[in-house]
């Protein structure tokens, strides 16, 4: 084990897989000589060469399209979007080609798209979004969103080895904020398995990504018997873990930084309502960003993104119900 930041864990996972498997390569803007906008691939071009660390023009459609072709031919490309927001420029290749190729033609597309997402740094509407729900509406894609350094490495490894196209949501706010013990060498975390981040009996916070830390901090500060489920994989969703927790506590808060409508929270709430209705002791609640663009202004941005106080308040309300 070694202590790493979330960012270092992503780098480490990627490096391990590139060392282990020659078919793994990286594609993105400024990932080679510059080492990536956030330095995830710092030093990669020196170790693996320009043939496996491909700098591209500012053309996300070309990045994803190239990766789809490479994956169909048996390589395992890992694309970097400089910001998750920019995936919109590569959307057609992702949702209509990568996601559908196996369904249409039986061709596996083992590729990963790394998506630095999330706000909290006055990045404004084009550099702060959490667009995971876009991909959940596109069958054929898998979506993961690690919250810890351990999972950042383990889920990336699993995503690279998975035969499906995987959207890997890496929250920029966690890059250097989150540190933890990470297994050295090969480390893979099974896709589709949630993690009980904190056990409790009184209510469940079902969450992922940056909101996991809000939930854990809120539970600690409130000193209440709150269970926190870190979903880790958004597709496939660990319905067993969600329902087990909902049935145990009878009170469910779904929390995420992404906007509310038709998001992961809506999906989890619908699942709980349908399958665990007789175990519910309170309405299923959501804590999310409202359906607005992310503002530049720091006070406005804080008002939009869920904060620790919001999490504590939502927990208090549900506990009191």
């Amino acid at each position: 084990m070694a202590e790493m930041t979330y960012l270092e864990a992503i780098s480490d996972g990627l490096r391990e897989e590139m060392r282990r498997d020659e078919s793994v390569l990286c594609i993105g803007e400024d990932i080679g000589a510059f080492g990536g906008a956030f330095k995830v691939t710092d030093g990669f071009i020196e170790e693996f060469g320009a043939g496996r660390v491909l700098d591209t023009p500012l053309a996300e459609n070309a990045i994803i399209g190239t990766a789809v072709g490479a994956a169909a031919e048996g390589l395992r490309p890992v694309c970097e979007m400089q910001f998750a927001d920019f995936i919109s420029c590569g959307f057609d290749q992702l949702v209509n080609v990568a996601a559908k190729l196996h369904y249409r033609q039986g061709v596996a597309v083992p590729m990963v798209v790394r998506l630095p997402s999330g706000g909290g740094f006055s990045g404004g509407p084009f550099h702060s979004q959490n667009p995971e729900a876009w991909f959940l509406q596109s069958p054929g894609l898998r979506v993961v969103a690690p919250a810890t350094a351990d999972d950042a490495k383990g889920l990336l490894t699993a995503a690279i080895r998975d035969p499906n196209p995987v959207c890997y949501m890496e929250h920029k706010g966690l890059y250097r904020y989150v540190k933890g013990e990470v297994p050295e060498g090969e480390h893979s975390v099974e896709l589709g398995r949630a993690r009980v981040a904190r056990e409790g009996e009184e209510m469940s916070v079902i969450t992922y990504g940056s909101a996991v830390h809000l939930a854990l901090d809120a539970a600690e500060e409130l000193g209440e018997d709150i269970e926190v489920i870190d979903l880790r994989s958004l597709c496939p969703l660990d319905t067993d873990a969600i329902l087990a927790s909902a049935r145990k506590t009878g009170k469910v808060l779904v929390a995420h930084e992404a906007t509310q409508s038709c998001g992961v929270g809506a999906e989890v709430a619908a699942l709980v309502a349908a399958e665990a209705f007789e175990d519910l002791d309170a309405p299923v609640r959501r804590l999310t960003a409202p359906d607005v663009p992310i503002p530049f202004s720091p006070p406005l941005e804080q008002a939009v993104l869920p904060q620790l106080d919001d999490m504590k308040e939502a927990c208090r309300e549900l506990l009191a119900y």
Binding site: L7, A37, F38, K39, D42, E73, G74, G106, V107, A108, P110, G118, G120, F121, G123, P163, K172, G173, Y175, R176, E201, E202, R247, K248, T249, G250, E275, A276, F277, E278, D279, L280, D281, A282, R285, R286, L287, T288, A289, P290, P298, P299, Q302, A303, V304, L305, P306, Q307, D309, D310, E313, A314, E317, A320, Y321
Partner: protein, 441 residues
């Protein structure tokens, strides 16, 4: 960027330069102590692991002190210099000093309300009486234990009876007498996937234990296999015919295709070739893709190919429907798929019914000959045995020669009610010819 006022001194802090940046290194000071500086004028250049940034002065004044020297690395938010905002240069406007720091809003100053404004806010005091409202889980627990909810004190919002209230009541009072005495920690919904049926002790505890023996009940799967096998023995007139096959050309073709298919996620096994050859031959010998019903023979249009898959304790035969439509790769993919899902116990019930012909493959475990039992209501089962290099007589350049060839046996058990030995042998010869003549290159 944050700056705070210390008497007349304004602190210049290492600014926050992006979410991923935790520290910066001073590249160059543009001003020296004693220099006059205007608010927002660049005071220093800083480099991070990502970008170079110019730091603007938070206020006008005279640079009083440099805290971080050129080359120093400073965490975000730490002071790097101080500006004396009260200083008055000859031509400067004194009122320009100090508080021109638009970005000085600290997070805690922004009193942020919940973004969940759309959700009704519950006021914990003075809310309407909710003691009559019963949540689904409370109703279920009350019904189960025969609890009169009127008797239960509610501690929830508006006096609502919460799950914990009714559970505490049950624990204290045991419901109305029908209640189960065991304390309930949490009570869960009855809607669950079915668990394996619990066997009654009477079914298994008949025999006295004997030293040197161990008795275990058969699993439900074991019992089903036992029943099906005996039924089949009683139903069909079993015969077994065997051909020997030279797999050289199949091995060569497999070597050609294997890597490319593997890249596409399809493991190409010998079984796939045998399955393909069998399905083709069944088209020519429809009586082997048939069933016996009373005094009629039912011929099936589609080849629904059963593949016997060994499990830890037992056997299951998933069916590949319409196998005649599949290419070799499609066959290989379908076999890999059903086998993997069979082992993971993820087959749908429909996927183990409707087979018209079955292939079993004990050869993967090294067996060389077997006489399998027919999978009812089919009329034949083909068995792929181990592929073993043997010395065999082959056509040499001049005359017969001894060659080393990958050989296997294909035994087939068939139902003498539906067909006779000649047809069985012709069918197997057809399969053999296809495998031995597989196109290569």
């Amino acid at each position: 960027m944050s700056s705070s006022r210390t008497e007349t001194l304004i602190e210049v802090a290492m600014p926050k330069m992006g979410i991923s940046v935790s520290e910066g290194t001073i590249l160059e000071w543009r001003k020296q102590p004693g220099d006059w500086i205007e608010a927002d004028e660049t005071i220093a250049d800083v480099t991070t692991d990502k970008v170079d940034v110019e730091i603007p002065a938070p206020a006008s004044g005279r640079l009083a002190r440099i805290i971080a020297e050129r080359g120093d690395t400073v965490p975000v938010g730490e002071p790097i210099a101080e500006i004396d905002a009260e200083a008055k240069p000859g031509e400067a406007h004194p009122e320009e000093s100090a508080v021109r720091s638009p970005q000085s809003a600290e997070p805690e100053e922004a009193a942020v309300s919940s973004p969940q404004a759309a959700e009704p806010q519950k006021d914990s005091g003075g809310e309407p009486d909710r003691s009559g409202f019963v949540s689904p889980v409370v109703r279920r627990i009350a019904d189960k234990h025969g609890v009169d909810l009127e008797q239960v004190e509610g501690t929830g919002v508006g006096g609502r009876v919460r799950k914990k209230d009714v559970l505490a009541y049950v624990e204290a009072n045991g419901g109305n007498g029908q209640a189960k005495p065991a304390p309930v920690l949490h009570s869960e919904s009855p809607y669950r996937p079915e668990e394996p049926a619990v066997r009654s002790p009477a079914e298994v505890a008949e025999a006295e234990p004997v030293a040197g023996e161990r008795r275990e009940p058969m699993t439900p799967m074991r019992q089903m296999i036992a029943k099906h096998m005996l039924d089949s023995r009683r139903t069909s007139a079993h015969c077994t015919t065997i051909v020997e096959v030279d797999m050289s050309r199949v091995a060569a073709r497999r070597a050609e295709l294997k890597e490319a298919m593997k890249r596409r996620g399809v493991p190409l096994t010998y079984l796939a070739f045998v399955a393909q050859a069998t399905v083709e031959a069944l088209g020519e010998f429809p009586v082997l893709n048939a069933s016996v019903e009373g005094e009629e023979i039912v011929y099936h249009d589609d080849v629904n190919l059963g593949i016997a898959v060994a499990l830890d304790d037992g056997l299951i035969v998933p069916v590949i429907p319409k196998a005649q439509r599949l290419s070799l790769e499609g066959m290989a993919a379908a076999i890999a798929d059903v086998a993997a899902r069979a082992r993971a116990k993820q087959l749908e019930p429909d996927e183990v019914h409707g087979g018209t012909f079955t292939i079993t493959n004990p050869g993967q475990f090294g067996a060389v000959l077997a006489t399998p039992i027919i999978n009812q209501p089919q009329v034949a089962i083909l068995d792929l045995e181990a592929i073993v290099k043997r010395a065999v007589v082959v056509d040499g350049p001049d005359d017969d020669a001894i060659g080393i060839r990958p050989m296997t046996y294909l035994p087939m058990s068939w139902d003498h009610r539906a067909l006779d030995g000649a047809v069985a042998a012709q069918f197997l010869s057809r399969v053999k010819a296809r495998l031995e003549g597989w196109e290569v290159g």
